[in-house]
Symmetry: C2
Subunit: 460 residues, 2 copies
């Protein structure tokens, strides 16, 4: 019976002094005259296992030739390790080569630059850094599902191909099965009657509007799926394809929305600290010093709640030379986000934003100037989530759409939600990769997505 | 404190004779001279709650005017119900209208055709049928994550936009941000240097090849994400956008692969039977008689394992007039699938398929004619999963790709997996909607996807 490294670590008391069989890969290989030491990993847990073999094995010299990267099977005894900080090692009775690896294998046991590893993206999960990052990604995804499912939310798969382009006009990818070499036309215009959906179609930028239809049937719903932006932004935080979580809750106002945002984020952070201990220790040591402390502090902090107006007041009174002067009624910049989280020494919910810089569907406040929107700013990362109470008033919503010159015909169903048993409801959006950057300390979005899509990059 | 209907049902002993507040919608409303009965649902659980109010309330006549579909708040006492099969009801002291609903609300308390409800897709989760179906969808998705996460699999987000079209040539949607009215050209050809990724890009048909790269780093991985087909198929089981689960496991042969398929499917079915009891009772009664029995039987059955050759032998010996004559070396038809699951009285794994009807990456058997592929056939649904051992031999894989005239340049990374510590590995694919059709008894894929995309349909 082959055993996973993860199980061996978890049940080491049970396996100590027992014979086991392992299958995995050679991550490093040190050779001495009488001994060999294989740094072994099967990828089921972050920690490697030291495999020791000696020259009493009849194929000792052959084993010494096994190269880094090779797939092997190890039979041996679990024994207490003399090495400090290492509970056990394997005394091998057999080491069988399952799959060879050539000398020119790109992933050698040394430091590779992240740029180099991006080019070798299909091999980088074999390195410690990416082994850690992509397991955190997996566990964080599960934690998010767990939080919402255990709180009675219905998981909603928003459509990816969409014909409504309300939010992302100009930033959407076209989806078509027409021949691009020879686009069918009629009267000089594209003839969409020849396309799959008989009209222009795009990749979605958000599943929120559709999620609201589920909130008004199930009370609590969330999306977790890919979204797209056809932006030519070559920054550390932009990708053309990324995953979003968009919860929507009926009978929920802005205040309750913030309660949920705070509780959910703390749940996910705590889950990662509990379930990815080895990965987090590694990231804390090699990627972001103080990472675990930062996250632990978040879990135990009370999030400040303050209005946009109050934030601008504080910024204007601050004895700081701003690059961008803070102004009432305007957006806040990165430097302001940084100042305000430091000012309060923790995460800050900023509420009641100027309506002109926010989306059409947000609830208009009685002042006529602001909307019931909220951004969550966290120390060291800035904005990581945004949400709002949704405008539940049919007339106000229609008026706002008209003011913005929006085409209401594709969104009649959305507007109708305010007519057919509408109610106070709220929701928020969370870019999954933004959370991962915060959780892992890895600062480039290209390094938290297995196969990132950015301008000019669509490999693998 | 507002309480969810779900919590009230779960803790009814605790809440009996207590005052509670509920927020939700009127699903039906019966009026008598001295009483009114509101069929109330807040969507947090399948079962509704009966709210009774009487003419002692000073706004009795106003409340009687509340229409079906309206959002309301109910304050009242939980009391034992005199009605058979109903444990409790609410004796209302207040019923407050939160959101009105007009007379012409499309979802009235009567039977609507599924075709009609497809046109009202944004309202259909408010009906019993779709309330049940989409909660089963949510819970099944969670069960799948739960199975894989608890068994140590790493959740892998495969890229959706892809430049490799190995599997789906001709059936892929193009993704572009070029202006379709005026596609940029150079020398009469599309000038992809003007597009986002500087080359043609499409929507993926499968994340399997990329998932294999994770299997060879983490041993166990799975995808769960959307995939696309640009097919003009107007059938009950085809959609242009659907969700797939694609597990990949290193050091795993075809036999172990089948063990996992069987265990996983049983886990998911059992989870649904346990966690969606009210939904399943409803579906059993109104959609597919015997549904619960069918699923319970599956959980307790041993899946038969038989080769494609043996299946053809059985079919050829059968005393049946076939529409399609079964032949060695050829695919099997729906009627054959049906016969074979009835022959064995349960699910059947059919293995070792003719290589010419299977994909290039499947492991070639020593006979030179078949591959180590497997399809799982279940009674009443036919094929619901397919998998294979993957060709781990570098030379054989390359030869097969050459035979098929495939362009290897975009897949060098995939081929290299066989060079850099390659090993026996296997995986399978599961169409999420196919499983849902099986679990719910709802036979049209348009009715298990919230907003289905099919030829000519891209609404909401």
């Amino acid at each position: 019976m082959v055993i996973d490294a993860k199980e061996l670590y978890e049940k080491i008391d049970e396996f100590m002094d027992q014979e086991v069989t392992l299958q995995g890969w050679i991550r490093n290989h040190r050779k001495q005259k009488e001994f060999g030491f294989i740094d072994f990993s099967d990828g089921t847990c972050f920690n490697h296992i030291q495999v020791v073999y000696d020259n009493k094995l009849k194929d000792f010299l052959d084993i010494q030739k096994y190269r880094v990267g090779s797939a092997i099977e190890v039979l041996g005894k679990v024994v207490a390790s003399p090495k400090e900080g290492q509970v056990f090692e394997i005394q091998a009775s057999k080491v069988i080569l399952l799959g060879d690896c050539p000398e020119d294998y790109p992933i050698q046991p040394k430091k590779h630059s992240r740029e180099f590893l991006r080019e070798q993206a299909y091999l980088r999960p074999r390195t410690n850094l990416f082994q850690a990052v992509f397991r955190v990604r997996s566990v964080a995804a599960y934690a998010i599902h767990k939080y919402f499912q255990e709180h009675g939310y219905v998981y909603f798969h928003a459509p990816l191909i969409t014909a409504s382009d309300c939010e992302g006009a100009g930033e959407m990818f076209h989806v078509t099965c027409m021949d691009l070499e020879n686009v069918p036309k009629v009267d000089g215009k594209v003839d969409y009657s020849k396309d799959m959906f008989l009209k222009p179609a795009s990749l979605t930028v958000s599943g929120q509007l559709e999620a609201e239809t589920f909130a008004l049937a199930y009370k609590k719903t969330y999306t977790f799926g890919p979204t797209f932006r056809a932006e030519h932004s070559n920054t550390k935080v932009h990708a053309n394809e990324f995953w979003m979580i968009e919860p929507e809750i009926a009978f929920c106002d802005l205040k309750q929305n913030m309660d949920i945002m705070e509780e959910m984020l703390k749940f996910v952070v705590r889950y990662i600290l509990d379930h990815c201990q080895d990965e987090m220790k590694f990231l804390d040591k090699f990627v972001e010093k103080g990472l675990i402390e930062k996250l632990t502090k978040l879990v135990h902090s009370k999030f400040t709640r303050i209005t946009h107006k109050e934030v601008i007041d504080i910024l204007q009174k601050a004895d700081v030379k701003w690059e961008f002067e803070p102004k009432q009624g305007e957006d806040i910049a990165k430097e302001h986000e940084k100042y305000i989280t430091e000012y309060f020494g923790g995460p800050v919910f900023i509420t009641d934003w100027p309506k002109d810089i926010k989306a059409f569907y947000m609830k208009q406040n009685p002042d006529g100037k602001t909307v019931a929107a909220v951004d969550l700013e966290v120390p060291g990362a800035g904005e990581i989530m945004g949400g709002s109470q949704r405008e539940e008033d049919y007339d106000k919503l229609v008026r706002r759409m008209d003011e913005l010159g929006m085409d209401k015909s594709e969104l009649d169903w959305y507007i109708n939600l305010r007519k057919f048993g509408g109610c106070v409801h709220s929701g928020f959006g969370m870019g999954f990769e933004r959370i991962l950057i915060y959780l892992t300390g890895v600062e480039n979005i290209r390094d938290v997505i297995p196969y990132p899509r950015t301008p000019g990059n669509c490999d693998f």
